[in-house]
Amino acid sequence: MGIDIGSVYSKGVITKENELSVFHVILSGGNYRTAAERVRQELLKRVNLTQDDIANTVGAGCGAGNVYFASHRASDIVCTARGVNSMFPSARVVIEVAGQSSKVMRINKQGLVANFVISEKCAAGSGWFIEVIANVLRIDLEDFGPLSLKSKNPIAFSTGCAVFGESEAVTRVAEGIPKEDIAAGVNKALADKISSLTKKIGLEEPCVISGGGALNIGLIKALEHGLNVQLLVAPQPQITAALGAALLARMKVKGADLGK
């Protein structure tokens, strides 16, 4: 079992050997320990198993310490790399767009992380920026990407800050600018930040995008345009790290040394 407690969503996965059996995603809420417990219960219920059937559990994410039933903790970077490697063994660069951070990592063919950069100081460099603007535009997150693709004139945000960006979006709405142009503008702004992060690591194909941001088709297109690359999109991109955590849990059972 792998449990990834993120700042916004908590994700869980059960694998049978190396195959995904079931996954579950919930909002983390204020209490990470409760979130971990809820994810575990739902996972077990869905595949009709009990805790005794689980050979090992690894916790990941910013709330990894709250996965009290895990034998090990692993960083979400290590887990994401592992998860991506299981789906795309040839992947060399992984772009992870999460709720409160973005990470770009370079991985080898064993799924080990060679190098990474992380942006976690600024909401405008994370999926949170999209949430803020979706809220201004009063549209659901799942509609954000498709809507933005309809834009012919994406607005250029004059700021790199989510707080100022929110005010700017409000002004543009008041000016009668179509929602799709604002949504496309935000995707472009976030894609620009992630592109420059990616260039620090050095782009190499195949390049995979994962994390909740990969559910936003508009962001993917903007990134592909900005980086001039075709991205591979992780299926169920939110659970990549949880899947990696479950795979690490299995490796541990098979005798690998994961440290603490």
Partner: protein
């Protein structure tokens, strides 16, 4: 002769009307608001009324600040950096470093003999500006004007680890639920803002005397935190919001005298108090 400086900031609009010897005859501060582009004339009317003057009595009007292009009755637009530097030097002739924390930006200026010689500014990120405090105050349900007073009761040093305003907003909710006190959290936030601005200021060489201006300078908690972060004393004007408008009025006088020395009329042409119409 009378002169006026109009400073349209992102958050507040300030107007100063002066006489020949820089005496302030009237000053006014009001929220800029979303319609600021059309409001300069109304604020000017109030300022004139207080000074018991007509617009034609004013020899020269200088507009400054982020909205300076939206003042159709101004004779000249001058950047806020120049106006701040001039306003601060007139109040504190010994100033070498001026730090202005505004509603949506922060500026640090090096001043030599009353002239701006170098500056750094942050207008890209809400952290380290008045906006940070506004958002935090709203989150905590405390009035912005009361933040300083509340933070003064803090008994414990608490570090706010988030840089981003949005993440800090979330962090304080967590801190409150962890049982930390409002006073300690506020003091921690003041320290976070001060360290951000001090970091900006250190890109310049900080030399005394150091003057702190802008609306944020009215917050005693920030003043204390800034002193601690910079490791020096700070001079604060009686009304820290007005230095830009004051500097604009002083520059208005200089331009007016210059025009008259060349034999040109001042005011150059009849003016009307009207709304800016070039923006919808």
């Amino acid at each position: 002769m009378y002169f006026a400086g109009v400073d349209i900031g992102s958050t507040m609009t300030k107007i100063v009307v002066t006489g020949t010897n820089h005496t302030v005859l009237s000053s006014i501060k009001g929220p800029t608001g979303p319609e600021h582009r059309q409001l300069a004339n109304e604020v000017m009317e109030m300022a004139l009324e207080r000074a018991d003057l007509q617009l034609d009595d004013i020899s020269y009007v200088v507009a400054t600040g982020y909205g300076r292009l939206n003042v159709p009755f101004a004779d000249r637009q001058i950047t806020e950096l120049t106006c701040h530097a001039r306003g601060v030097s007139s109040l504190f002739p010994t100033v070498r470093t001026a730090i202005d924390i505004g509603g949506q930006d922060a500026k640090c200026m090096r001043i030599t003999d009353g002239k701006l010689v170098d500056f750094v500014m942050n207008d890209k990120c809400a952290a380290g500006t008045g906006r940070f405090l506004e958002i935090i105050a709203a989150t905590l349900g405390v009035k912005v004007e009361e933040l300083g007073e509340v933070s003064a009761k803090s008994t414990k040093k608490l570090q706010i680890s988030s840089f981003c305003t949005i993440f800090a907003q979330q962090e304080i909710v967590t801190r409150l639920s962890d049982g930390e006190s409002l006073e300690d959290i506020l003091a921690g936030l003041h320290d976070a803002l001060a360290s951000r601005v001090a970091g900006l200021a250190r890109k310049l060489k900080i030399e005394p005397d150091v003057v702190l201006t802008g609306g944020v300078a009215k917050n005693a908690g920030i003043v204390k935190a800034m002193k601690a972060n910079l490791g020096c004393e700070l001079l604060i004007p009686e009304d820290p919001l007005l230095t830009g408008a004051l500097g604009a009025a002083i520059l208005a006088k200089e331009y007016s005298l210059e025009a008259m020395a060349k034999g040109e009329p001042s005011p150059a042409k009849p003016r009307r108090l009207e709304k800016a119409t070039f923006f919808k």
